[in-house]
């Protein structure tokens, strides 16, 4: 990039240098000017059909579509000139004449680009007052997608996504003129594993998720930057919550990992984050009973157990646990001989054909790579086989089936259970410690390409639940303000770096919102 000379343009008085070939609309973003648009999307080919991004380019007789006009040296662009504004106002008026004013019952309201731009610079009244608006009934496009043709502005983002990104061309523009609508191949459903993205791409409320239908208003949602816990791809997501309940998962742009997309599996698998059958207090064994306890006695109990119990240890962990938790819990078990494993659920791989290196991966856990870097094995059977000989067994929120529960029941070693939800298996546990799930804590995952990415706390913890890294830190370093146990995710991450040099160096701030690839140099190379 350093070799290519930049092209200098002035956009609404702001000078900016951009690489040659950059469309004006992207150059404007660099200059801090948002050019209103509908059909343009940075991850789709530009058809220049909405005509919303028309801008005035000096020395050009006609307004130019900013999405398909490349910058030229010395170009002077006016986005907010009277001429450009009048054109936008015209487009908005045309888009509205057949658009129902049903924002009060439309899911898109509050995050609708038509609403936003009309509010920003549209006409205050309509001149199309005596005609009925175009009407077409709602269509069921597929398992999770409804099409409301009346709201459609024919930007064709959905058609282009299916054609050019998913490479499953099932959508089309049917009919002509103002009768046009988005059609679907009669013999097909919109059931591609990545089809849900059309709902996000739709700038208005025309393509809706049935799952989210009438569930919440956009302005009532809190959005938290997170990482999809669905597979080793590590797609960046936003977790949308209302009143501490996760109601929707949407992709968060990261050009290096998932561009602007997530798969339908990741999108739909969020209900476990809201489970009601949660462990709310620590439980400590007293004779043949498990008794609710405060944190301090429970932590003391576990610390004492680990100190005194002989023999090897088995650590059965969930692959959804963050790197900090996996690391510190393993460290908590000290120097004894240990088999630590993460349970890897497998599924079908479902690539998104138009984006290189983006797929719903076979390994359906987010932190396999992180676990492996910390010395966990994916050979779950090996860990299970070691159970009968183990003196200490720690379960870190692993999702166990009936057979595994029975094996655990038969194993003689002392059982310490760090978990989120209730389970039969802890009848014989020495201690049960309530931990937070990934939506309730700060942490990191390492994706399959070695990219370390942060997920952030999206909702409050349930009951007394604490992050597993907090529990392990307290056991490891002791309690009290002077003990130095990590109180924040950032501190837990720093502590992790002390134990595993591979993680040393960056802080949470360095990772930012899009993460960074860890140095993958083999040991011995470099400092």
């Amino acid at each position: 990039m350093a070799d290519t000379p930049l092209v200098n343009v002035t956009i609404d008085g702001m000078s900016v240098g951009v690489p040659p070939g950059t469309p004006i609309i992207e150059a404007a973003k660099r200059a801090g000017v948002l050019i209103p648009h509908y059909c343009y999307h940075p991850s789709l080919p530009s058809p220049a059909v909405c005509r919303m991004c028309l801008v005035e380019v000096e020395k050009q007789p006609k307004l130019a579509p900013a999405c398909v006009t490349s910058v030229a040296e010395g170009q002077v662009v006016h986005v907010n000139s009277p001429k450009a504004k009048a054109a936008r106002q015209g487009v908005l008026e045309f888009l509205l004449i057949n658009h129902p004013l049903d924002c009060p019952i439309c899911d898109q309201a509050g995050e609708c680009e038509l609403q936003d731009y009309v509010f920003q610079e549209g006409r205050s009244g309509t001149r199309y007052d005596e005609y009925a608006k175009r009407y077409n009934p709602v269509e069921d496009f597929g398992p999770d997608i409804l099409y409301v043709p009346n709201r459609c502005i024919l930007c064709t983002r959905c058609v282009r996504f299916m054609d050019d990104v998913a490479k499953a061309p099932v959508l089309n523009v049917s009919e002509r003129g103002d009768r046009a609508f988005i059609g679907i191949d009669d013999s097909q459903l919109l059931d591609h594993p990545w089809a849900g993205n059309v709902v996000d791409l739709c700038p208005v409320g025309s393509l809706l998720s049935k799952d989210f239908l009438h569930k919440a208003r956009a302005w009532d949602l809190d959005k938290t930057a997170s990482i999809c816990p669905g597979c080793t791809q590590g797609c960046n997501i936003n977790i949308d919550t209302r009143d501490d309940v996760v109601v929707r998962i949407r992709p968060r742009p990261n050009l290096e990992v998932n561009r602007h997309f997530i798969c339908d599996v990741g999108r739909s698998d969020y209900r476990w984050l809201n489970r009601g059958d949660r462990i709310e207090t620590p439980l400590v064994r007293q004779g043949d009973r498990l008794v609710a306890s405060d944190w301090d006695p429970a932590l003391d109990h576990v610390a004492a157990l680990l100190e005194t119990l002989p023999g090897t240890a088995v650590l059965l962990a969930s692959g959804r646990a963050g790197t900090e938790s996996l690391g510190l819990v393993k460290r908590m078990l000290g120097a004894r001989e240990l088999v630590a494993a993460v349970k890897v659920f497998l599924g079908e791989e479902a690539p998104l054909a138009g984006v290189p290196n983006l797929a719903l991966r076979r390994e359906r856990i987010p932190n396999l790579r992180g676990a492996e870097m910390l010395g966990y094995t994916a050979e779950w059977r090996r860990a299970l086989a070691a159970l009968p000989e183990a003196g200490v067994i720690v379960v870190l929120d692993a999702d166990l089936d009936a057979d595994e529960m029975a094996m655990l029941e038969r194993a003689p070693g002392a059982l310490v259970w760090l978990g989120t939800v209730l389970s039969d298996a802890w009848r014989r546990a020495e201690a049960v410690l309530p931990i937070t799930n990934m939506a309730e804590e700060n942490g990191t995952y390492v994706n399959r390409d070695g990219r370390m990415q942060r997920y952030q706390q999206a909702k409050g913890p349930v009951g007394m639940a604490r992050p597993a890294w907090w529990v392990a830190g307290e056991v490891l370093l002791g309690r009290g303000p002077d003990a130095g146990a990590p109180a924040t995710g950032d501190e837990a991450f720093a502590l992790l770096g002390e134990y595993w040099p591979a993680f040393a160096g960056p802080t949470y701030a360095d990772l930012g919102f899009t993460g960074r690839e860890l140095a993958t140099a083999p040991a011995g190379v470099g400092a």
Partner: protein, 435 residues
């Protein structure tokens, strides 16, 4: 010979010389009438001199835009190693235009020869003739002519032993006006929805199937053999008015004239004579009111403007309209201008490809407003509304369909405002229904 009327003595028949003569349709018949000499001559001339010849002749695109043909050919890359295509635009669908249909009906070999010459010039080994889907009579004529051309070694591999291969394929459109727009035509040819493409890239860089392509109108191509046979000077000499408009042009005269039909005259011929003499003038007792000179997409001319106008690109542009495709719609004093314009906008609303917002929504809105004016429900603000909509629809879209819808509205209101106001004030009786 003419069709359906005998040639008028003031016509200059070049392209239409054999109209009405079924014998000219056959390969043998065409050869006897001097056909397939030009392609042999062109093959001997070589490509560059050929393109230069067409440039010198001043031939301009007859489909509507009037772009210099030789210049267009010269945009095709040389030695790029890619397949080149020639697409003949035979999707004649501009309301008021019916000249290409007659060329193909009577002289298919004239078109084929033109295609061969241009294909050779631009290094295309494949020619697509994109025929309007509704031309059910034309399609078999072209197919039969093509078979004969192949049999006579005029098309196919190694034409006339020259080592040049040129395949010609006739492709039928599916019935959309917009496919007459060259990039929409390329999409349709590729089996896609007929939506105009964004330019650049222009077809000469990336046209049919992404390869360098030139699109030319039937009449343009039909003129090429005559230029090759008779030379650039001869063709240039056919201009009466402006030297930038050369050769002959077929004008499809329709509407309120006594002898509607195709008339081939030299560029610069007076419109007045074309209407009143060649086309037989108005019906008895009627007077000329308005003329749309170049197909429904161009601004309307008043009778005074029309009668003072010469038929060439520059003169018509001077009067504020365009020569367009040469489809002249003549209207006498019985014409209701408002209804006429409404009918055109209805057509554009129907044919809009629905890509660009202004066109998709604006064309129908315009038609609706005109409809309510005619029904006596118009408002005084409606003319301003129409002009404002037209402004939004002009120069802002991918292709010029919405501009074409706006042009008659704007010129109609400007030149015949009284008729609109008569509806608005109630002094003209409203229509009970519009059809």
């Amino acid at each position: 010979m003419g069709y359906p009327h005998p040639s008028h003595p003031r016509e200059t028949v070049v392209l239409s010389k054999h109209f009405g003569d079924p014998a000219a349709r056959t390969f043998q018949g065409w050869v006897q009438r001097g056909g397939y000499q030009a392609i042999r001559k062109a093959l001997e001339m070589g490509r560059e001199p050929l393109i230069e010849l067409v440039k010198q002749s001043g031939l301009r695109g007859r489909g509507g835009a009037g772009f210099p043909t030789g210049l267009k050919w010269s945009f095709m890359p040389k030695d790029d190693g890619k397949p080149h295509y020639l697409v003949c635009n035979a999707d004649e669908s501009e309301p008021g235009t019916f000249k290409d249909r007659e060329i193909m009906r009577w002289t298919p070999h004239q078109l084929i020869e033109g295609c061969l010459i241009e294909a050779f010039a631009i290094r295309a080994e494949r020619v697509y003739i994109f025929v309007r889907g509704e031309f059910t009579e034309i399609f078999p004529i072209l197919e039969a002519a093509l078979q004969e051309a192949y049999a006579g070694n005029a098309a196919g591999p190694n034409i006339f032993g020259s080592g040049v291969n040129i395949d010609i394929v006739v492709h039928r459109g599916a019935g959309a006006y917009i496919c007459g727009e060259e990039t929409a035509m390329l999409n349709a040819l590729e089996g896609k929805r007929g939506n105009p493409r964004i330019k650049p890239p222009f077809p000469a860089q990336a046209g049919a199937f992404g390869m360098p392509t030139t699109v030319n109108n039937v009449e343009t191509l039909a003129a090429v053999p005559h230029i090759v046979n008779n030379g650039a000077e001869w063709y240039k000499g056919l201009a009466l008015g402006n030297p930038k408009s050369t050769g002959t042009k077929l004008f499809s005269v329709c509407g309120h004239v006594q002898r509607p039909g195709n008339y081939e005259v030299t560029m610069g011929f007076p419109m007045k004579d074309l209407i009143h003499d060649l086309a037989g003038g108005m019906r008895p007792g009627r007077t000329l009111k308005a003329v749309i000179p170049g197909g429904s997409s161009v601004p309307i001319l008043t009778a005074e403007e029309a009668e003072a106008c010469l038929m060439d690109y520059e003169s018509i542009a001077e009067k504020g309209s365009m020569l367009g495709s040469g489809g002249m719609i003549v209207m006498d004093d019985t014409t209701d201008i408002v209804k006429t314009i409404w009918r055109y906008t209805k057509f554009y609303a129907h044919e809009s490809c629905a890509q660009c917002t202004q066109c998709r929504e604006g064309t129908s809105w315009t038609a609706r407003v005109l409809e309510r004016i005619i029904m006596g429900q118009g408002r005084t603000s409606d003319l301003d509304l129409l002009l404002d909509l037209s402004e939004q629809m002009t120069g802002k879209t991918i292709c010029v369909l919405s501009d074409s819808c706006a042009a008659p509205v704007v010129s109609g209101i400007r030149k015949f405002r009284g008729e609109f106001e008569a509806y608005l004030s109630g002094s003209r009786a409203p229509a009970l229904q519009v059809v």
